[in-house]
Structure formats: structure tokens, C-alpha cells
Symmetry: C2
Subunit: 217 residues, 2 copies
DNA sequence: TCATGTGAACATATTCACAGCT
DNA sequence: AGCTGTGAATATGTTCACATGA
């Protein structure tokens, strides 16, 4: 189900190109997946295609939006307005998809009142009041790692049950709370791992199984 | 293998807490995974544990670092110095793990020379020269979606074979080039999906299979 | 005739449970 | 006695290939 947003984006760009209808093959190519996988994914939502024809782009786009829950409004709070929090607050991809940033919070009171992306930074202690006032269900953590678990705990007691965590630390949460972690450094590490493999192959090394330090025996 | 960075982070925090040795159970808890999975993952790298005892934290940390390729230096270029590129340039999690940002590039020439995170922004056209000069193998794309494919193509022809893409668009690359995509808005959408499910369950709705529009029959 | 939707085959990933080593 | 490393069992995900229906 993590692929639905990708399909949605592909459908949006087809719509921009004024494509009205498409086959699973076309949409799969645009989304960068195999067409059988796309059809199986879509068949879980219902039968929104027409055999022999394909999918109606606009109709399918609406159905996927509805399935994801984008037909409703999602108020979001962002905690930790450093460089990353700043970037997230300004990120247009959130607001354009039904996510509405209702507050920016920072533990550093000297920053309270500072204007970022059209919103005034508020004190972290206002969290609970803001969550209740706006019915916030999703919280974004962009603090340093050391603060993240505490911020998370307070989000959970304020009633937030979905958390997007950019701090490089594992968060512990009660059952019923979802956390998604985005670790920028892990992504680079995974690339480095593959890059290293490619470099080894190219330099003609045999795939290394032994460490080279065992020798004798 | 996407979990190795997580294990590495867990080992680093154990080291900070001056823990010398740990069991698979402890490390798995710290990393937020099942202990059997952790042991199986580690066994792919080699036998770095001691039966009846556990793992030496420092030794295992080194072995994982080496496996990922963090014992070598990885020069990185970041293209697109908007809010996100700015945040990435300042992100300490990169530099602290062997990744060295050697250049910040932006297509907007009016920004050339501007100082960000201690580096001067340079013109995008310098890409190839920079890649060759520093032996850059990893490129980060933080441009708007519309520019991403073109930036990607030029990275590839400059010799970059690993790309971290923050632009919300699917990139097409030749064989042998790795792309990892980080889509901030997709992450929120996935949370919204689960949140919607939780709300439905709580309000006592039966899981909806039919659309409600078929009626008669 | 054509492309969807889907069972069946295949592949990959996770978990269990215990043999083997310290 | 205790914890790793791993085969076997299970679960999940992907791809194939074709019956089905517009």
C-alpha cells in the first residue's frame, strides 16, 4: 500500500498532460513498476478499470485519493524548526495534497514568534492545546535525536497517533500509534553500500567471502 | 540490507552509553527489530558474535561500517539549494558518517557565490568538472520535480552512478545506476491511510468492502 | 480483439526452534 | 547454562499466464 502515493503522482502527471485514459502498462511505466503488480495493487481497491480499454485517469485518481484518505483534511504539527523543520514547513508537496500545517513548535522559547512559511513559531508546551483545537492527528518530528523520544511521548499523550520521524533515532510508542521513520543518512549509506559493490566488481575483484585474515589453517 | 544503518546507529548509541558487549536481544530491541531477524542479518556478514556471550559492540560496529563502505570517504554533490537543499547541506548526520559534501550546485546563477553551510554555491554547469576533480560517486537531487530528470541525466553522464532523489518524480536511469527516492509527501500519505483506517475502526464502522452504490440486485 | 483481474507458480522475507559452540 | 548461527516452516510479496468480460 506504500505504492498508492506513487500511482497517484503518476496519475496526476498524466492528467497534466491531458491524458484521459491509460492502460496498466502505461501507468506502470510512469510509476516505475511492473504492470502485473500495478493491476494487483489496484484490484485490492476494487474494479476501477475496464477490460479491453484500461483505466479512466480522473476516476482512478479520485478512487486512490479516497482510499488513501486525501479527500479529507489532515491538520499537521511540525516540532523542531531547525533547517529541516524550516524546509518541511515550506514544502509545497504537503499543502498541495490535503495536509495542512497548523502549527510550528520549537522548544527554544527565544524563537517563539519568528515567522516561518507564514506561521509564527509557537512554544512546544502549547502542543496539547493545539492538537485539541485543530484535531491534529499527525505529528512531524524534526528535532535533534536526543529530544525526539520526549517529543514523541508528549505527542502521544496529546492524542496524536501518527508520527513522521526525521530524527535519527528509533522511537518507542504504545500499540495503536504508527511511526514512519525517514532517515536521510541511512539512505546515503544504502547507496554507499551498492556503490562499493559496483566498484569492487569493476576493479575485477572476486566477490569477497573470506576476510583475508584467516590464512593458515 | 537496508537495516544495516539502523543496527549501526543502535551500536553507536550503545557505545555512547559505554556498553561493551550486547546480546542479539538487546541490540534488536535498540534497533526496533526481532532478534532472530537481527541474527540472520548479521550472519550474512560473517560470524562476528560469540555463542553464549553475545557481540562485542565496538568490533561489530567496525564490521558493519566496513560492510556498508563507511570506512572510506564518499564525496557528495547536492544539486538544488532551496529550502531542502539548504537543510541537507547543514545536516550533520551526513558529515559524521563519512559523507563529505564537496559542492552545492544550483541552476539559478544569481545564487552563485552565496555561502551555505560553509560552502559557496556553484553553477550547475560545473557539475562534470567537480565530479571528476573530487571523484564524486553520489549525487543528491533536491530540485523541483520538473528539473529532476534533466539533472539526473547530467549526473549520469558526468559519471555519477548513485543518486538520492528528493524530487517527487520517478527518475529513469540506465542499468548500473542506483536511485533511491525519498518522497516526503508519500510518507505523510501512508500515515494518513493508516490514520483513516484507525478512525473507521474506532467509529464502529464495519470494514468497508462494497462501495455502497451497488444496492439493488 | 484487447486489456483487466486473478489463480497458480515462483521468489523473497520473516519467524520459529534448536543444534552447536563458548 | 546461555546465546549465536541456521535449517525448516511460515508468511508475504512478485511475476506469470490466461480466463473473463467489455
Amino acid at each position: 500500500m506504500a505504492r498508492l502515493p506513487v500511482y497517484l503522482r503518476a496519475l496526476n502527471s498524466l492528467l497534466e498532460a491531458e491524458v484521459r485514459s491509460c492502460s496498466s502498462e502505461e501507468l506502470a511505466t510512469a510509476a516505475g513498476v511492473n504492470s502485473a503488480k500495478l493491476r494487483k495493487d489496484l484490484s485490492h481497491l476494487g474494479s476501477y478499470g475496464t477490460r479491453g480499454v484500461g483505466y479512466d485517469v480522473e476516476y482512478l485518481r479520485y478512487q486512490i485519493s479516497r482510499e488513501i484518505g486525501l479527500t479529507q483534511d489532515w491538520p499537521v504539527v511540525i516540532v523542531g524548526i531547525g533547517n529541516l523543520g524550516h524546509a518541511l514547513a515550506n514544502y509545497s508537496g504537503f499543502s498541495s495534497r490535503g495536509f495542512r500545517t497548523v502549527a510550528l513548535l520549537d522548544a527554544d522559547d527565544s524563537r517563539t514568534g519568528e515567522l516561518v512559511a507564514g506561521l509564527k513559531i509557537r512554544a512546544f508546551r502549547e502542543l496539547t492545546a493545539i492538537v485539541h483545537e485543530h484535531g491534529v492527528a499527525i505529528g512531524v518530528i524534526a528535532t535533534p535525536a536526543a529530544a525526539a523520544q520526549s517529543v514523541c511521548d508528549q505527542m502521544v499523550s496529546a492524542g496524536i497517533r501518527s508520527i513522521l520521524n526525521f530524527a535519527p533515532t528509533v522511537l518507542t510508542v504504545p500499540d495503536g500509534v504508527d511511526v514512519r521513520m525517514v532517515d536521510l543518512s541511512s539512505e546515503l549509506q544504502i547507496l554507499a553500500y551498492h556503490e562499493q559493490r559496483k566498484a569492487q566488481l569493476q576493479s575485477g575483484d572476486a566477490p569477497v567471502v573470506a576476510t583475508g585474515s584467516e590464512g593458515v589453517a
